[in-house]
Symmetry: C2
Subunit: 325 residues, 2 copies
C-alpha cells in the first residue's frame, strides 16, 4: 500500500477531522485515489451500526436526527451523520447547513455531520453514500446515520442498505404524501410519527397498522411506531430504545449477518455496474466514439439497442472465446 | 425480425391499445422480448415531442398534466402520458389511478395514460421510463408527457432527458420544499407556479427570478414562469403556449438536435451500464458466486473494492489481450 494512503488511513482512524473530511470529498468528487483509500479503510470497518433515516420533505428529519445523535452522545457513543441533501450548488446551502448543525452540538468531537449533494451522481449516489458511511465506520464512529429525503427511488435504495431503517411520517400532509408513504412501507424497520402533537397523528398510526395487517414481514418483525416532536426533543429516547430493540431482535434471530450479506449483494451489483462502465469507457469506447454514436442515434441512423449489444459483446472476453470456436 | 414481434409492432403503430399496454408491461417487467421489441419500434420513433413534468409531492402534477393533455387534444394532437408513481403494489393504487384518470378523458382514444411503479428498478428506472416514452412515440402519439415526483435524483434524471422540461412549484410549502426547488432550478425550461391563487405565489415568482439572475443558461434561454390553478383548469392554454415558445426557440437556434444528442449520450451510458452487468451475470458471475462473495465481504474476509476490480478485469477482453503481451 502507498505510504501516503497508509498515513491518511492512520489519521482518519486517529480521529483527525480534516483527514476524514478530505476522504469524504475524495469519494464525493470520484477522485482517482478514492478506491485505494477505500480498500485500505475496509479492514477497519464493520463495527459501526448504520441507521438509515428517511421521510418526506418537511417531515423534520434533520431535527430528529440531531436529537437522536444527542441521545447517543449522552450514552457515550460517537456519531457520524451523512445527509443526502438535494440542495443545488447555487446556494452553497449544504456546507453552510453542516456548520450550523455542527455548532448546535457545541463542537463536540464525538459527532461528525456531512451533507452530500445529489447532483452529478447519475446512478452512483447510493454507491457514494454507502462509501462515505464506510469511511465514517472506519473512523471509529459507533453509530453512522444516513439521512435522505424518502421520495426518490435512489434515496430509498440508500437507506434500504442500512442495518436499521427508520421511516419518518408526519400527520396531515395530504394525499400525495400518503401515496409516497405507501411506497416505503416495506423498507421500514421502525416508524416515527414526527410532529405527533399535530392533528391527525392517530390517523397516521392507524394507517400504518392497517397496512401492516395486509402483509407480514418474512422475518416476523413488526415495526414499532414511535411518536416524536423533534422540535421539542420529545421522543428521541424512545426512538433510540426502539432501535436498540430491533438490534436485539436481529442478534437473537441471528439475522444481522444475513441482512448485511443481502445488503452487500446489492452494493456489489452497483459497484460492478459502475466499474464495468468505467473500464469500457477507458479501454474501448472513447468520448469521441460515444458522441458520434449519440449523434447517429439522435439522427435515427442507428438503433441504440443493437449498438449497445454490439459494444458490450465486443468488450466481453466471452465473445472473443466464442468467435474462436 | 421475428414475425410475432413484427405483427406486434404493426398493431402498436395501428393504435391497438392492448398491444401498446402489453409492450409497456414487457418493458416494465424486463421480459426477454423487450429488447427485440424496442429494436423493432425504434425506426418508427422520433416524431413525438417529449415533455417532462416534475414537482414536489402535493404540487398538483397529475391534475396539471391532465389539463395540459386536454388542451393538446383540443388542438387535435394525440397524447401519451407516463406517470412515475411511487405507489407500493400493496395498494394497487397505480393501476386504479390510471383508470380514474382515463375516465376523466371520457375514453378518448387519442390519449393514453400509464403509471410506472418505482420499486424494483434499482438504477434502471430512468431507462425503463425512457423506453416506455419510446413505445408511446412509436405508437404515433404527437405529445409524450413524462410525469415524476421531482425530489429524488433518479426522478430528476428522467425528466431531464425530455425535449422540454417543466418544473412545477407551489406557494407556501415551507423551507424544505424551497431547498428541493433549488436543486431542480437548472433543469427547468419552463416554470409553473400551480395553486397560484394561494398566498405566496408572488414570493415564489420573485425567488425564481432571483435565482435566474445568479446564473445564465448556456443556451441564453430564460425559462418563463406560468401561473396556473390546475384544479380549475386555469393556465393550461398559457402553459401549452409557453412550451410551443420554447420549441420554437429550439428550432430557431437549431438546438433541438443538439439537446437530443446530449440526452442520447446519457441514455446510452445508462444502457451500457445495465447491459454490461447483465452480460457479466449471465456469462461470468453466477448467482452462487455473487452470494458467496457477498458473504465473504459481509464477514470482512474480503475487501469488496479489490474483488470488484478483479471480476471486472477478468471480464474485459482488453485484460486478456494485455496478458498476451
Amino acid at each position: 500500500m502507498n505510504e501516503a494512503i497508509q498515513s491518511w488511513v492512520e489519521r482518519i482512524r486517529g480521529g483527525d477531522v480534516r483527514a476524514l473530511s478530505r476522504a469524504i470529498s475524495t469519494i464525493e468528487d470520484q477522485r482517482p485515489e478514492a478506491v485505494a483509500l477505500l480498500k485500505a479503510l475496509f479492514p477497519h470497518t464493520g463495527r459501526a451500526r448504520v441507521i438509515g433515516m428517511t421521510g418526506a420533505p418537511g417531515a423534520g428529519k434533520s431535527t430528529l436526527v440531531d436529537h437522536l445523535a444527542r441521545e447517543y452522545r449522552s450514552q457515550g457513543r460517537t456519531v457520524g451523520i451523512v445527509a443526502v441533501d438535494p440542495t443545488s450548488p447555487y446556494t452553497g446551502g449544504a456546507i453552510l447547513g453542516d456548520r450550523i448543525r455542527m455548532q448546535a452540538h457545541h463542537a463536540d468531537s464525538g459527532i461528525y455531520i456531512r451533507s452530500m449533494a445529489t447532483r452529478g451522481f447519475l446512478g452512483g449516489l447510493a454507491r457514494a453514500t454507502t462509501d462515505v458511511a464506510t469511511v465514517l465506520d472506519a473512523s471509529g464512529k459507533d453509530i453512522v446515520m444516513v439521512e435522505t429525503v424518502g421520495v426518490g427511488q435512489d434515496e430509498i435504495d440508500i437507506v434500504r442498505l442500512a442495518d436499521v431503517t427508520v421511516v419518518i411520517l408526519v400527520p396531515g400532509m395530504g394525499d400525495d404524501v400518503q401515496t409516497i408513504k405507501a411506497g416505503i412501507m416495506e423498507i421500514a424497520d421502525i416508524f416515527v410519527i414526527n410532529k405527533s402533537d399535530r392533528e391527525g397523528a392517530d390517523r397516521v398510526h392507524r394507517e400504518i397498522r392497517a397496512m401492516q395487517s395486509l402483509a407480514a414481514r418474512k422475518d416476523a418483525w413488526t415495526p414499532p411506531v414511535i411518536k416524536t416532536v423533534a422540535s421539542e426533543g420529545k421522543g428521541s429516547v424512545e426512538l433510540a430504545a426502539a432501535i436498540a430493540g430491533y438490534e436485539k431482535f436481529l442478534a437473537q434471530k441471528d439475522l444481522l449477518l444475513k441482512k448485511k450479506i443481502s445488503n452487500w449483494r446489492e452494493r456489489l451489483l452497483e459497484m460492478l455496474r459502475e466499474s464495468l462502465l468505467q473500464r469500457l469507457l477507458t479501454e474501448r469506447l472513447s468520448e469521441t466514439e460515444l458522441s458520434h454514436l449519440a449523434a447517429e442515434v439522435a439522427g435515427h441512423r442507428r438503433d441504440p439497442y443493437s449498438a449497445v449489444e454490439e459494444i458490450v459483446a465486443s468488450f466481453s472476453s466471452a465473445e472473443l472465446e466464442s468467435k474462436n470456436q
